[in-house]
Structure formats: structure tokens, C-alpha cells
Symmetry: C2
């Protein structure tokens, strides 16, 4: 018989609510993911929440039921609750049917098999969680091997990033590292590093992208430092016909990634 | 001598703060835009704020000074204020140097000259303001003639949309309409309507995009209704190699728009 929580004052509700805050999240090494689609994606990749909250009205939904059973079987806890409490946990007026509390996970450069994919995404000092999640979602779509975050980056486990990733956070490895160890790892095996830049004459459609190609996108406001631009094998630019001088970082990454995909298919 | 406001209790501050709320914005038919980059973009297209707020510390910045002079000359008001009040107006801890209050503007289908551009963006029931702004920013970059919003859409003048557009709201016409008048207008002249769909075998790279091409992107969650899909000249799909079945709407629009641009150049 699953546990039921209907009181806002329950300490577990406060604990989970606080996971929306980075400081609490980092101390607990746990994070929130919401929605049946994302949690089902997670389940299919073998990741189950430690704690699952679901609305009483959703208890008989086959996917909610399956999730709930798997969570209990794995030693986690499945908790039936009210729409109001789900709203509070998700921070939205129209809460998702399920909210899960997951243990954080991570990957290291050494865990990556660069021959497993033709496209790898690399982002430098990414600061917007929506961009990070959207880049992961695109990475899933192009079959990218992983996302490598260089330098001080927004937290991939923030609620906004998880939400924008639409579940790709669970399907694509994310590595957090710095430029020097990344460059050392990159040069220890095959692969070209292609940087998106405004300071080049090479159109992104004119370059050739073998496998594996590592696509480097710079910081949203400042682009990438000179050191990194110099470390690239190729710099390419996306044409800008209007008044603005840059695209949104997630958009630029996607336009590039689909060009690489088209060449490699 | 410019006016100075240093008191939070000033009624103008409350009025401007309330423009962040859709109901107030629609009643006032005015909206907020923030940041020197966006306001300078607006100025270059001939749009000046009715009221300009700037931090005392920025008063001597040449672009702030130029903006301020132009606003006064056009009969508007330029107001020096404190960082705290700018924070309150912009809703951000690190406020922009300038915040402007603009009159809303709009365009009708009849205002558009379809022969003036090879690419036109059309979005149906777009619901996320960040996506709308990002699509405008991409539209600027590919030289799109305008953005046509079909059905109940998020407000292009919301703070988030204006911010994500990075100024493109001022450079690209936005038309709000419904499917029937859009279809009638479309068929009254040259141009093909290309819809992004999951229910087609045609790869987006295999289709041919003459000028003008109208790119139709469906609602983020539901895609486009059957009626609209049937009204398209061509349906195309973007390959999805991963677990997810769709891209972010702004990303999908950009990948499509850059393919059209590449073919038309």
C-alpha cells in the first residue's frame, strides 16, 4: 500500500521543494524531474526516482502504475499526493501528473567512447538552463555521443534544464570539465574540434565534418576565449543576414549539428 | 534637465512595473524593452520609447545619451533613476542600464510584401515566449520577411519574448491572424507553404524551397491540426535519431530556415 501525503507541512514536501534551489540540490546531490514523459524516458534508460510523487487521480494510469511498481521494487518510495502539493513541488499552476526525486549522476571524459558517435557537443560557460536543456534535446535528436561542458556552467540538474531537455538529460552523458583536461583528452584520440565563431570567413556549409566531430559553442554573451578558438581545428560561421550578430546558443548548436549529421549520413 | 525618480512609491514606477503583467499591458497597449543593445536596435529602426529609464551611472554613456536626447526630441520623457528601481522594473538582480516603455505596434497580412523576402516564418499556437523571441531572432538572421502567428499565441510583447528576440521584435513584422484569413491571403499570390511534420517520409533536405517559402511550425505540444497539414504544399520532417520524437519549436524552425536559406543563396 503506497504512502500518502496530503499535508503541506510534511517535512519531505519541504525537502523536495527545496531541491528547486541550487544550494540545497548540491548539498543533497539529488534533483527533481517532472512529467510522465520525462520520467518514463528515465525509466527506459534504467534510472528510477528514489521518491515518486503522483496525483491520486493518476494512480490507475498504466505508466504511472508501472513507474510506481518499479520504484518500490528498486527500494524507493512511491507517494500518492494531492494536486495542490504537486503544484507546490513543480512550481507550476498546472502540475504534471508525476514528480520524481533522482540521485544526481555524472560522467567523466574517460567514460566517453568517442568512436560511438559521429557528433559530440561541447559548450563553454553556458549560462542559461533552458539553452542547456534544449542543447541536450537536440543532442538526442542528432544521435550525439554526449555533451561536454567547459568551465563554469549552469547546472544541468536545474529544474529548467531538466524540463527543457525533455528527458534527454537521462539519455545523453553530460561531462563537466575545464578547457585544459578537455583539450588533453581530445588530442589523445581521433576527432576534429569545430568552433562556431564570428571571426572567420568559412561558412559552416563549406567545411567537411568527419566522424567524430566535436562542435564547440561559446558563451551566450561573449563567445569563446581566444585560447579555445586557437585550439580548434576549424572555425566556421553561420551566415547572419540581419541586424543581429549572433543566434541563440541552442539554435546555433542545432543548425551546426544538423549540418554535420547531413554530411555524415 | 531630465527628470529624476528615486522613490519606489512614484506612481509611474508602479505603472511601468505592471506592464510585466499581460492584463495591464493589453489595457495600456504599451510594453517594456530592456537593455542598451535592444533599445539601440529599436532606435535604429526608428522606434523610440515613450519613456526611457536609465541609471545615473550610465548617463554619460554615449549610446544612453543619444537615446535620451532622441526620446526627448520626439516628445517622450527620459528619466534618470537608481539601480534598485531599474532592478524592480526589469525584474532582475543585475538590471540593464536602460529600460524603455514603448507603444505596441502591429502589422496586418495586407502590410506584408511577400516578394521582399525568400523566407517567411509562420507559427501556430506558439505558447512559449522564449520560443517566440528566439524565432524572431532567427528570423532576423536568415533575413525572413516576417513572422505570422496563427491562432491563440503567446504575446510577442511579453518581457520574455522581447528579451529572447534580442531586438528582432523591432526589425521583423509580426502579424497575428487566424488560419482561414492566412490561407486566403497566402493563396492570393505566389509562395509555397512548407509544414514541419512527423507524419511524412520527406526529409527536409530532400525538398526544394523556392522564394517565397512560408515555413509553418506547429504548436509545441500538439503539432499542427490536420486541416493545416492538409493546407500545406509540402510536409517535411527533420530526422530524429534519438529517443525523443520532436525538437524544440524554435530549434526546428531554425534548422528548417537555414536549409531554405542555403538553397536560396
Amino acid at each position: 500500500m503506497p504512502r500518502e501525503i496530503t499535508a503541506f507541512s510534511n517535512p519531505l514536501i519541504k525537502y523536495v521543494r527545496d531541491l528547486r534551489d541550487k544550494r540545497h540540490r548540491k548539498a543533497a546531490r539529488q534533483f527533481l524531474a517532472e512529467g510522465l514523459r520525462i520520467l518514463t524516458e528515465a525509466r527506459e534508460t534504467g534510472r528510477l526516482p528514489r521518491t515518486l510523487f503522483y496525483a491520486a487521480a493518476s494512480a490507475n494510469h498504466p505508466l504511472v502504475h508501472a513507474l510506481s511498481m518499479d520504484v518500490e521494487e528498486a527500494g524507493g518510495e512511491s507517494i500518492q499526493t494531492t494536486p495542490d502539493i504537486l503544484s507546490k513541488l513543480s512550481g507550476k499552476d498546472n502540475p504534471q501528473a508525476v514528480v520524481g526525486v533522482f540521485d544526481e549522476f555524472d560522467a567523466a571524459l574517460e567514460d566517453l567512447d568517442r568512436t560511438s558517435a559521429g557528433i559530440w557537443l561541447v559548450a563553454e560557460r553556458l549560462r542559461d538552463p533552458g539553452n542547456l536543456g534544449t542543447i541536450l534535446r537536440t543532442g538526442d535528436a542528432v544521435g550525439a555521443g554526449g555533451l561536454i561542458l567547459i568551465g563554469e556552467s549552469v547546472d544541468p540538474f536545474s529544474v529548467e534544464a531538466v524540463r527543457a531537455s525533455m528527458g534527454a538529460l537521462f539519455t545523453i552523458p553530460v561531462v563537466k570539465t575545464e578547457w585544459a583536461p578537455f583539450e588533453a583528452w581530445l588530442r589523445s584520440g581521433p576527432g576534429q574540434l569545430v568552433g562556431l565563431s564570428l571571426d572567420t570567413e568559412t561558412d559552416y556549409r563549406a567545411a567537411t565534418y568527419g566522424a567524430p566531430t566535436f562542435l564547440l559553442t561559446g558563451n551566450e554573451a561573449q563567445g569563446m576565449p581566444a585560447e579555445m578558438a586557437e585550439g580548434c581545428d576549424t572555425l566556421v560561421k553561420i551566415p547572419m543576414l540581419g541586424k543581429a550578430d549572433s543566434l541563440n546558443a541552442a539554435v546555433a548548436t542545432a543548425v551546426m549539428a544538423y549540418e554535420v549529421l547531413a554530411q555524415q549520413r
